[in-house]
Amino acid sequence: MEERPFSDISYRKYLDEDKFMGSRCRKCGQIYVPPRRFCLECRSEDMEWHELKGEGELAAYTCISIGPSFMIEEGYDRKNPYCTGVVTLAEGPRMVARIEGVDARDPESIKIGTPMKVEFLHRGEGDKARTFLAFRPL
């Protein structure tokens, strides 16, 4: 795999390519999402890119009625809340991500422990194009 720096910019570029990538310590095997330059376990700087399976389960969530402006622009508001959460990945680490395919108007219907699969939300065009990490129930 090509050598991109283990940075947030690289991480987001991979998301644009529908790839969910972390870094893996070559010395001790620890996996980091988003990627880290320094292994916090063994302090090695010998990292490699690691594509995550994109599977996990819901560890925490919230359904937001008053969101930041970029979510308001997507059409979310008090009448149309959205869900965002924390997913524990099959590989072990956790990641925060938007949660799709659930009813954010009925938060009690959403269950911690639900198996989830990764999804890439492409929003905006041209200079404003961005990809958001999301998960959806399997």
Binding site: D8, V33, P34, A59, A60, Y61, T62, C63, I64, S65, I66, G67, P68, S69, F70, M71, I72, R78, P81, Y82, T84, G85, V86, P93, R94, M95, V96, A97, R98, A104, P107, I112, G113, F132, L133
Partner: protein, 422 residues
Amino acid sequence: MMSGKRKIGRGVAIVGAGMSNFGMFPDKDSKDLFAEAFSEMLASVDKGFDPADIQAAWIGNFSNDFFVHQAHWGPIIADLTGIVPRAVTRTEGACASSTLAMRDGLMAIASGMYDIVLAGGVEEMSKCTTEEVTEGLALATSPYEGEAGYTFPGVFGALATAYFHKYGAGREHLMNITIKSHENAPLNPKGQFKQTIRDLMEARKAKAAKKGEQVPDWADEKEALFDPRFNPPVAWPMHLYDCCPISDGASCILMVAEELAKSFTDNPIYIVGFGQGSGRGLHACPSLTSFEANKQAAAEAYGMSGLTPKDVQFAEVHDCFSIAELIHIEDLGFFGEGEGYKAVAEGETRREGRMPINTSGGLKCKGHPVGATGTAQMYEVWKQLRGEAGERQIPGRDLYIGATQNLGGTGGTCTFTIFERR
């Protein structure tokens, strides 16, 4: 390896404290608010004090840059209070900014560099819309949380679902915290909200009757708090009454070297333990029901003071959201993990309870002008320890050890400070 135990090189005491009224003040700016706090602080020094003796100042401010488009608040406050041309430094640790101001003052006196310093904070938020404030505060979440659409209430909402799931608690348990804070609210003349939940329910009923609408027939506080017309969701399970308000305000304390303290007052309050920790975002923190920064701060402060959680008689903790209060009282060791919500339900954190928490009404009722909150928490402990808290004085107890816990961002910064009256 470094030694784990921290020490204060030279004793430090608080000999004066002041805070402005907290609330939404369209006709007051940050200088007006700080002037209120500073005047009260000067008047509070029992044996009198010449402000020309202040050798340096630290002023906490999170984001007036965003809220009122003015940065570099240190010199503005130094000019206001006549500290110019002596040193002033702005500190920023999100909602913990003014505790960091106190910390810098503490280190400066402990090191021997200064003997008399001012620490305080200010924030002016209400000139923005709710949406703007939400966005301004969200600047202090981690970048990954921001991208995932989290707001401040959203991060705490997610922590609440994890806590509920792990310990079997629910919204009704968080409501106990809200109801308790609002019981203290009418007793704090400087607070933003001065009504109990019952008062607010009656006001709502009266309003409905006046408008000719159906009058709600809630049986008790919790029934009202479960009613989304009374208590709408913000970031489920965080609802309006789980969240602190948008506030303007200022606060400050006068800190001096221990050997000088008695020349200012016969009743100084000593800072005997301080700790500060840092934390990661939700994705990387080791637990979703605890703040790692809290654990670090608590271990340092207890170690420094030689005290244990059992020695602390009461505390002000950072209840920016109801769930935060619950997590803090467990992280600080006042209650066991997963036990906090039961203790709250049994009334242990009420003013008359075994461990009074947020006698000021907390951020929820007193208000949360973020940069002012840390030293405002210390103002409450100063008042309680000196027996000057008026109607909200903790009853029937000789108070000598109190503490404040201040959280910045979504747990990126946490502090814990222990105070003693000797």
